[in-house]
């Protein structure tokens, strides 16, 4: 079961373990990680589940799909090269230890 670390805007950190195949957004929400709003429940409709993958791991996590890529241009917090919509990131054992940064604002 991969473990993911969420770095929150207030400087604190949340470590969460989720089954392989779980999407990152779901792992955050079901563990009460604040700052992942996920208004549309993971349907790539709202861009309120935006995260920055740690720069060192961004290749491992892969890049955004086409719709996600377009949506990332309009997130509430600035887009960065490592931006992803967490509902589009599927966890696997290869992503064990993934570190993501939660932006200041989502809506």
């Amino acid at each position: 079961m991969p473990t993911v670390i969420f770095q929150l805007p207030d400087g604190t950190e949340r470590k969460v373990t989720a089954a392989s195949g779980t999407v990152l957004m779901q792992a955050a929400v079901s563990n009460g990680v604040q700052g992942i709003v996920a208004e549309c429940g993971g349907n790539a409709s709202c861009a309120t589940c935006h995260v920055y993958v740690d720069a060192a791991q961004s290749e491992l996590a892969g890049g955004p799909n086409d719709v996600e890529d377009e949506m990332l241009d309009f997130t509430a917090a600035e887009r960065r090269p490592t931006s992803r919509l967490s509902c589009q990131v599927q966890l696997s054992d290869a992503l064990d230890g993934l570190v993501v940064h939660v932006p200041e604002e989502q809506v």
Binding site: V29, C40, S45, A47, E70, D73, F74
Partner: protein, 417 residues
């Protein structure tokens, strides 16, 4: 939080839905230290409703709709009381009374009671196999019925009905949608988009009967058929979604001003009693984008209004002026709306760069006021960013470009790179 100091009565929230949850979690996130009590009628942890009509649920654990796990409430010292609805408010004594006979004192009361479905006003509506769809329990019942249903009749061509129609199709049923108005989503989206939506539903095999009235539901033990003005439709499952009414009777009975929703000011305080606020589906409020006071039924409205009241009670007052937005996933069709349109607005339909993508731009006096999109989430998000800014978008600016293009151009002009 047993600090030894006397606790004040604190904030009592009536209703444990999207808005009530938002009030309680925001209070704590903003450092409010007094007692927070959420009185919730349903036995379930506060949950999201949108998935209920969009996914084919069969088992409770498949739903996973809870907003946060149970531990969230204990960790934040939120007293969540499930399964005991509030039956009366005493504004003079500042207490609420629950069905179980408990009295809970408050220093501020937040009404977040949501809305209830308009009942289906025809004979036979109480037969087995006829369902409304609002609560988690409703969704589980519909999910179970879909396991064996062959002929599903959906009464009402609104968001919930159309979403459920696609769920039923995906589960292999024959599906008919019966709508009284001449068009689907007749009030919610512009006429220009309605025809496209209808086409998409028909392509997926849903039979759409507009301009059709339901006269009766018939059957002996359970539903067997639906009698309509267009003939008899076989049915082993009927799901209706014909609108919702605000649950404002507690407020009315207590003497608060109510008019199809609890009347509140721009800070979402009751216009009658400043110690009471109302948020979400049950509140009617002034809004800078609306002509008169509006009552909105959306996740955005419930979440943002709850957050505004939570922040206000934690010492950060503000006016409610958030941009309204909404989404509906109808099978493969993704419909999104930003802003508030009125029928007199001028609508321009724009096709996207890939097939199936459409946007309807609504203008009032030459300014963009609302945008509806089909299968074009990026354009929707661009609309939200642009409509949320004080600089208006003028009709002329949108010749030969989309909102996405305009948003990118404006941002490039703001921050030269």
């Amino acid at each position: 939080m047993s600090t030894g100091t006397t606790r004040t009565a604190g904030v009592v929230v009536v209703g444990g839905g999207q808005a009530g949850f938002s009030v309680a979690s925001t209070l704590r996130a903003c450092g409010y230290a007094g007692p927070v009590t959420v009185c919730a009628a349903e036995p379930h942890l506060p949950y999201q409703r949108p998935p209920l009509s969009k996914k084919a649920h069969t088992e409770p654990d498949e739903l996973r709709v809870s907003l946060v796990p149970e531990s969230f409430y204990a960790e934040r010292d939120i007293d969540l009381r499930l399964g005991d609805d509030v039956v009366a408010l005493d504004l003079a004594a500042r207490t609420v009374r629950t069905r179980a006979g408990k009295r809970v004192p408050y220093s501020h009361l937040v009404l977040a009671t949501g809305a209830r479905n308009r009942p289906l006003p025809v004979p036979g509506a109480d037969l087995a196999g006829v369902h409304a769809l609002r609560s988690l329990d409703d969704a589980l019942a519909v999910g179970r019925a879909l396991a064996t249903a062959r002929d599903v009749v959906v009464v009402g061509g609104g968001f919930i009905g159309l979403e459920l129609a696609q769920v039923a199709r995906a589960r292999g049923a024959r599906v008919a949608v019966v709508e009284l108005a001449d068009r689907l989503l007749s009030r919610a989206v512009s006429a220009q988009l309605q025809e496209h939506l209808r086409q998409r539903h028909e392509e997926s095999g849903v039979r759409v009967l507009t301009g059709t009235a339901v006269h009766a539901v018939e059957g002996t033990d359970r539903v067997r058929q639906v009698v309509t003005s267009a003939g008899i439709l076989p049915a082993d499952l009927v799901v209706y979604g014909i609108g919702a009414v605000p649950r404002d009777e507690l407020a009315r009975d207590a003497g608060l001003a109510v008019d199809d929703g609890v009347l509140v000011d721009e800070q979402l305080r009751s216009v009658t009693d400043p110690r009471v606020s109302a948020v979400g589906d049950c509140a009617r409020h002034p809004h800078p984008h609306a002509v008169g006071p509006v009552r909105l039924e959306s996740v955005q409205n419930a979440t943002d209004q709850g957050a505004l009241v939570g922040r206000r009670l934690a010492g950060q007052p503000a006016r409610y002026e958030n941009l309204p937005w909404f989404w509906s996933d109808q099978g493969a069709v993704k419909l999104q709306i930003a802003g508030l349109r009125v029928p007199s607005d001028e609508v321009r339909l724009v096709a996207g760069d890939t097939p199936g993508r459409l946007a309807a731009y609504a203008f009032r006096e030459g300014r963009l006021v609302a945008v509806e999109t089909l299968d074009w989430p990026a354009e929707h998000l661009a609309a939200r960013r642009l409509l949320d800014r004080p600089t208006p978008v003028l009709a002329d600016e949108l010749t030969g470009t989309t909102l996405g293009g305009l948003a990118r151009a404006r941002r490039a002009a703001e921050v030269p790179s």
